[in-house]
């Protein structure tokens, strides 16, 4: 009786079945969008909006000016690409190229030094069984010290009659213009971040199974061969991501040279310092132009690094596709470690 009615209706409902499934997926998407919206909104406000307004700002010049009739014009006027063309010309151009050179120089030297030292530290820590806890705690100390404080600390160490000159038996005025101030910045930066790279590489080393090394030993591989053929390729994903983040971090270096040596010093002025200086003097147009140039520089370097060396920043992308859902997740754990390492590296930079 009552059962016949639903049975009769059922065939009519059936074609709708696939649609319902679609709607379920849509629902997940919508839920995800809803749950992600606060984060994306905040990031849009504090990251995307400033980047765009910097682009806009860089096309204007602010401050008082005289127009063609001799009237004083206040506020900003549109100047097109003039802020950018000014950067590359004459005296301003010299200052810009100097800052550009310093930024690149610091990045290359610091990252190379930190990577080599960090890998050496990681290998030592991996071999050592005694005192691991002590090493781990002490390695976190340079990381936890604010960059400003470490800059002051190194300024104190490099004082004219400070401990550095005392130990070296030299009379170098470290914080004056020249190679020595560059050296002091590099030393301070390496001190703060090399242990940290060591920590990240150590985490990568610990995921290599011991059997691999035993197999190499059985095959009679030398220590050096084991290192170059087994250790390096296997820690490469973690190392590449850590190095990428260190590069991006050093490209925006500001605190260290600013506090350790000081503003307006040709030897250590970086692009960030240049942009800050312009903004500090309320020349927002040129400041925004410098900031945009730095942003483009960072973006190009990051893109090239990822493309050429294949740094897998979003290990997720590779991990998700073949697995296609939750089941593949556990197997791909190794690959997913990369992003975690990446953010660790980003954290290590802090306000450098």
């Amino acid at each position: 009786m009552t059962a016949t009615a639903p049975v009769a209706e059922r065939p009519a409902k059936e074609p709708k079945q696939p649609k319902r499934q679609q709607r379920f997926n849509e629902g997940t998407g919508r839920l995800a969008a809803m749950l992600l919206s606060p984060t994306m909104l905040v990031l849009g406000l504090v990251v995307l909006f400033p980047i765009i307004s910097a682009l806009r700002e860089s096309l204007y010049t602010s401050g008082t000016k005289l127009d063609e009739n001799g009237f004083i014009v206040k506020g900003s006027t549109f100047v097109g690409l003039q802020n950018y063309t000014d950067i590359f010309k004459g005296e301003i151009g010299d200052r810009f190229w100097n800052a550009f050179y310093n930024t690149t120089f610091f990045t290359v030297i610091c990252v190379v030094l930190e990577t080599v030292l960090g890998v050496v530290m990681a290998l030592i820590m991996h071999k050592a069984f005694k005192g691991r806890g002590v090493v781990r705690a002490s390695i976190l100390v340079p990381w936890a010290i604010p960059t400003v404080i470490s800059a002051l600390l190194w300024k104190w160490i490099f004082q004219a009659d400070g401990i550095a000159n005392d130990l070296l038996g030299t009379q170098i005025l470290w914080s004056t213009e020249g190679w020595q101030s560059k050296m002091s910045v590099i030393l301070a930066d390496t001190w703060k971040t090399a242990p940290f790279i060591g920590l990240l590489v150590l985490a990568g080393l610990q995921t290599i199974p011991a059997e691999v090394y035993e197999a190499a030993k059985v095959d009679g591989a030398s220590v050096w061969k084991t290192f170059t053929r087994i250790t390096l390729p296997l820690v490469k994903p973690a190392l590449l991501v850590a190095v990428l983040f260190r590069i991006l971090d050093t490209l925006r270096i500001f605190d260290l040279p600013f506090v350790l040596v000081g503003p307006h010093k040709d030897s250590v002025e970086t692009l960030s310092m240049l942009a800050y200086d312009e903004a500090f003097n309320t020349r927002y147009g040129p400041a925004a132009a410098y900031a945009t140039v730095l942003f483009v520089y960072v973006a190009v370097v990051a893109y090239a690094f990822v493309k050429i060396l294949g740094a897998d920043v979003i290990g997720e992308a590779r991990a998700k596709k073949p697995g296609g859902g939750g089941k593949g997740r556990r197997k791909k754990r190794e690959i997913e470690e990369a992003p975690g390492v990446a953010m660790g590296a980003a954290a290590g930079g802090g306000g450098v």
Partner: protein, 293 residues
Amino acid sequence: MATATAAPREDLAKVRAAEVGPLRRWAPLIGVVLIVLYCLAPFYWMVVSAFRRPADQFSNKVIPAPFSIQNFKDVFSGSNGFGRGLLNSLIVAGTVTILTLVIGLIAAYTLARLDFKFKNVVLAIIITTSMFPGISLVVPLLKLFVDIKWINTYQAMIVPSLSFALPLAVWNLTAFFRQMPQELEQAAMVDGCTPAQAFRKVIIPLAAPGVFTTAIITFIAAWNEFLIALSMTNKKSIQTANVIISQFTGTTGRDQPFGSQMAAGVVVTIPLVIAVLLFQRRIVAGLTAGGVK
């Protein structure tokens, strides 16, 4: 026979130890000592310099001969507003941490658990935002904050700090949520929980260690921030400790007051170092997110 089967492992260890020789056995330990010295010596120098009498400031003795806390007294007594700076740092870093956790927790859980179309795009966007140079955000925001009269306010420091703190927290938390088996929520839902309840009553309590670690890491990152705090303020009463220390004029004037700067540095750093020592295992696990386990 019993001894023969039990002994080999020990014997093997002894044989190996003999094989490698004393140099190779001690080399890692020496290396460890070198690393510890490398990391701690400069820090030690800061502590030692802080505990000297201002008169002995330029002494290079390894131990402060007449031990003195005069530098610490100077730091807090002078007109440099250091105490206020510490409070400001605490307010800014604390607020950034709380805001970041509240906003980031939901996003991280979504990214770890839900399957949706543009997940990788979202992940890429979040990680990309953390790569942007701080100055290219600070310049336009500085102009905006001048216009809306936000200069010398807490929000002028807190809002831009979210740009680096939020991606950091989201990534850390996502890694932690991923390590938790999905069966947890499924069991909760079988027992009659809604997904929201499963998240609140099962996941949050279990994720507490991860949330705590993320909180520490975010707090340290926010506490160490300098560029934003420097750009957005010009009044001492609102500046953070980092900015105030970098601009110390000291009680005697003229020379840079290294003694009180080192003392202030110790005060700012010691809480972080204690936190690091107490939670080193967790922090390392958080920073390498899964790599250690």
